[in-house]
Amino acid sequence: MEIMQIVGLGIVAAVLAVTIRHNKPEMAMLLSIATGIILFMLVLGKIGSVIDVLRDLASRANLNMVYLGTILKIVAIAYIADFGAQICRDAGEGAVASKIEFAAKVLILVLAVPIMIAVLQSLLKLVP
């Protein structure tokens, strides 16, 4: 039951963070970061199997693997940016969190450009 381990780790980390936040807020933030990384590492192996299924579905749909890779990168950017922004907000740095989200949006749009070009080319190919 991995979920018990994950939930237990999360609760312990939360109690510790609440306990030390008054005296050592920086340590509470580091504890929060470390807990997040550990939880991410725990589920990383499971995500690999999900991605394999996604690749299989994409190959069945004759979807170019470049596009699927782009989508997965975008999802990862969104998750990492969200993770960083939450930590910054917990530390009371809402402005930095906004900047992280802004950077993530820009990166997502940059990665979306090849897909937009592909849409345009597909539409133009339909025109005789």
């Binding site: 749909a61 999802v75 989200e101 949006k105 997502i108 897909i115 597909s122 339909l126």
Partner: protein, 217 residues
């Protein structure tokens, strides 16, 4: 039908993939952006599938229907061969008409010359379509009468020709009307024939060697 089945299959898989990916999205402000990119991806896949149908190799599917001849209709090769034969025949007829027209034209041209009498003109032309001179005049044969029947009525002064006296010999074999080829003309007649040949050659832009004169009695 197979193409449509493939397209529907692809669409089903793409929708399942999109739903699957949507579950992975973070529940934050980023979700809208990632969903937009995923929507673009689905549009790409659908357009590619539709483009494959629109630009599909329809000729390959239609070829059996085009090549299959219905019953009672001759084979396409036979029709083409018959068409080729018809074309060749029409070309030969056109060349023959052209040759005869030229012969008549040369006879009429030579008839303007009162020094010699042209019995017949025979024209040979290049008939090989592969030849670069195809359709041009190769040789012209002028059959001239060696002795022109210019019997004029004495004293009339109008130059009218009279019919020669007709002699009937019963029991003898009839002589050919055309007479003997390569009969010997007089020197004056030969000069007149050379002038006529030159006129014909100049008129049709031929070399003098291409116009040949033959004499018949």
């Amino acid at each position: 039908m197979e193409l449509i089945r493939q397209l529907v299959q692809n669409l089903i898989v793409i929708v399942v993939l999109a739903v699957f990916l949507e579950m992975l999205l973070p529940a934050s402000d980023m979700r809208r952006y990632v969903k937009m990119v995923m929507g673009l991806l689905i549009i790409v896949v659908v357009l590619q599938a539709i483009g494959g149908i629109v630009r599909g190799d329809w000729q390959r599917h239609l070829e059996p229907a085009i090549n299959a001849a219905p019953s009672g209709v001759p084979d396409l090769k036979e029709i083409l061969a018959a068409g080729q034969r018809l074309k060749d025949g029409q070309e030969q007829k056109a060349l023959e008409e052209y040759r005869q027209g030229l012969s008549r034209q040369i006879v009429a041209l030579a008839g303007l010359n009162s020094e010699v009498q042209v019995v017949k003109a025979r024209v040979e032309i290049y008939t090989d379509p592969g030849d670069r001179h195809y359709g041009q005049i190769r040789e012209v044969f002028l059959l001239l009468a060696a002795a022109r029947p210019r019997i004029q009525e004495q004293g009339s002064g109008r130059g009218e020709q009279l019919v020669e006296p007709v002699t009937i010999n019963v029991g003898e074999r009839a002589q050919p009307v055309q007479g003997e080829v390569n009969a010997k003309p007089g020197p004056e007649a030969e000069k007149a024939a050379a002038r006529l040949a030159r006129v014909v050659a100049d008129f049709y832009n031929l070399s003098p060697d291409q116009v040949k004169v033959q004499w018949v009695s």
